[in-house]
Amino acid sequence: MTPMHAGRPFRLFRNLNAKIASIPMILTALVIFVGGTAWTVFYSFTNSKLLPRASFVGFDQYERLWATPRWLVAVENLAIYGVCTLVFSLVIGFLLAALMDQKIRFENTFRTIFLYPFALSFIVTGLAWQWILNPNFGIQQVVRNLGWESFTFDPLYNADIVIYGILIAGLWQGTGLIMCLMLAGLRGIDGDIWKAARVDGIPTWKTYVFIVIPMMRPVLVTTLVIIASGIVKVYDLVVAQTSGGPGIASEVPAKYVYNYMFLAQNLGQGFAASTMMLLSVVIVVVPWAYLEFGGKRRHG
């Protein structure tokens, strides 16, 4: 056969349509995410103020960042908020899903009730809870009116626990979706497993803990991703509920970034804080994303 590779087309043009159709994705990935990130990191080494300027100051911005009490508070808050959100979302979401999975009546009603907060914006959520937790009108006042004069419940006005006040609202908004995901996961588990456990005489709770939960790994991963991506971004909720107060007690990194970039007109500092956030995201997410999407291939 003379032309061994006769007609072999130019590689780039195979699946041309697919490649064309992927251009928006590629552009977004490259220009916005990679480009934007690189740009941010680049200017974090400058002393840009209101406008980005390439005058380098080395790691000055980072040194200043880690010496700033507000940033430290923000990081600490994010850690507390993150861990609590993660734990409580998963636990509450799972418990609710498990309850919903007991072949209950009015399942649709309950599910709608648990899910509807997800439809509301953080701004709305924040306002509603700010109102309920307001010591002059909300729960505290109501309980006091009932006769318990010394009752105190003002998380949004107490610097020590304000982050938990935000957590209450955050959980209210987000657990419904987690419940839905978990429920879908539970429903996806082979019914024979349940039967086998019953024949083996394993109590329900034990079946959940030792058998079902470990089997829900894929759902848990998805859920974790969703929760985690929400945690890093927490901003609107804080702004709507406390604006970071009292004092700087409920600051979060995203707010720090925003404030320094635009309010303080110190882009360099804002970018340095962004870069730190990115770094933590990358450390957590990239290994996972690689395993999930890069490493293995689907069967064909």
């Binding site: 024979d192 497993i193 039967k195 086998a196 019953r198 083996d200 005489g201 089997m215």
Partner: protein, 360 residues
């Protein structure tokens, strides 16, 4: 002594009746196979016996004890599922011992039992592995082991082999049979594979639409099916069915399109009433050539299609205008278009009523 008794059990999902007043007695030590097409209620019946489904009506006894309202674990049963239903995150050993541990059994008793079961099933080398690291056949063995360690009187199998490939299936089939011979427990085994049913069962219960059609030894079911459904369900290649008419008279006969098949040697269940009927004859009961001419009925046919199956060959022809297949040894060289003489003994055939499909 009877081991499992199902008495007048009915079960409905909403308005849909899956089991209808079903009765079944399984003597101790019997290997009973529930055979039937998909959706006929086999798994449902098995789940009722296991206590995994609440019956709508009726009772279930195991070892003489009314267990209708007992929990599955208290019924003295072990169950093996089609999808194995192994606990994926536990090792094989964990899978075997989890139920025992939960029941609060002593450590050494547990390890004795696990050791015994894994010896019987030859899965000792696998004990430390997780199910994901096992082949299909090994998983199935572990699933059986999990039932085995429970040391129960009755084993329930729900299509345990249908997820395996043909080769493995026939191997494990033999193993299950051996296991039964060794343990001599009562076993109730659900399948829709008739070969499995034939090879494993002491008795087969053929089900259709939630009703047991026939409950008998495999050979009886194979050779004397009580109705056309049972006849057609067993055997591969399937029984040939010829539509025709029973003609009364001194010598009753079966007429199809001009051909007459004498029925004097056929063992009628009851007196033959003339009318529409179906004659069933199994492909392997058809003789060829010289042997054919000695048969009570013989005819010459043209070969339409030849299907060599390795060990033997299936030949498709038409008899009285209706499709008709018979089996010959693989050595016989037959090709399309050949004309052959075939014959069979109506005594080995089955005759069914044209309307009801019942054996006549």
């Amino acid at each position: 002594m009877t081991s499992v008794v199902v008495k007048d059990v009915s079960l409905s999902f909403g308005a849909y009746d899956v089991l209808k007043q079903l009765n079944l007695d399984v003597p101790e030590g019997e290997f009973l196979v529930l055979l039937g097409p998909s959706g006929c209620g086999k798994s449902t019946l098995l789940n009722c016996i296991a206590g995994l489904l609440d019956v709508s009506d009726g009772q279930i006894f195991i070892k003489g004890k009314n267990v209708t309202w007992e929990e599955p674990k208290d019924r003295g049963i072990g169950m093996v599922f089609q999808s194995y239903a192994l606990y994926p995150q536990m090792t094989v050993e964990g899978n075997l011992s989890f139920g025992l541990k939960t029941a609060g059994m002593a450590r050494d008793e547990i390890s004795t039992r696990v050791a015994r079961a894994s010896e019987i099933l030859q899965i000792e080398p696998l004990l430390k592995r997780k199910p994901a690291a096992l082949s299909g056949g090994q998983r199935q063995r572990v699933a059986i082991g999990r039932a085995l360690v429970r040391d129960v009187d009755v084993f329930l199998f729900d299509e345990p082999l249908s997820n395996l490939d043909a080769k493995l299936r026939s191997e494990l089939r033999v193993e299950i049979k051996r296991l039964h011979q060794k343990l001599a427990n009562t076993m109730i085994y659900v399948t829709h594979d008739q070969i499995e049913a034939m090879t494993l069962a002491d008795r087969i219960a053929v089900m259709k639409g939630g009703v047991i059609q026939q409950l008998d030894a495999p050979q009886v079911i194979y050779n004397k099916p009580v109705n056309r459904f049972v006849a057609g369900f067993l055997g591969s290649p399937g029984m040939n069915f010829l539509d025709g008419e029973v003609e009364g008279g001194a010598v009753p006969a079966f007429g199809i399109a001009g051909t007459k098949i004498p029925l004097d040697r056929y063992g009628f269940d009851h007196v033959a009433a003339p009318g529409k009927a179906v004659l069933g004859i199994r492909p392997e009961h058809v003789a060829l050539g010289d042997a054919a001419s000695t048969m009570p009925f013989s005819a010459e046919i043209g070969v339409e299609l030849v299907e060599p199956m390795g060990s033997d060959t299936l030949v498709w022809t038409k008899l009285g205008g209706q499709s008709f297949a018979f089996r010959v040894e693989a050595e016989r060289h037959i090709s399309r278009g050949d004309r052959l003489c075939i014959g069979f003994d109506p005594a080995r055939a089955s005759l069914f009523d044209g309307q009801s499909g019942k054996r006549i």
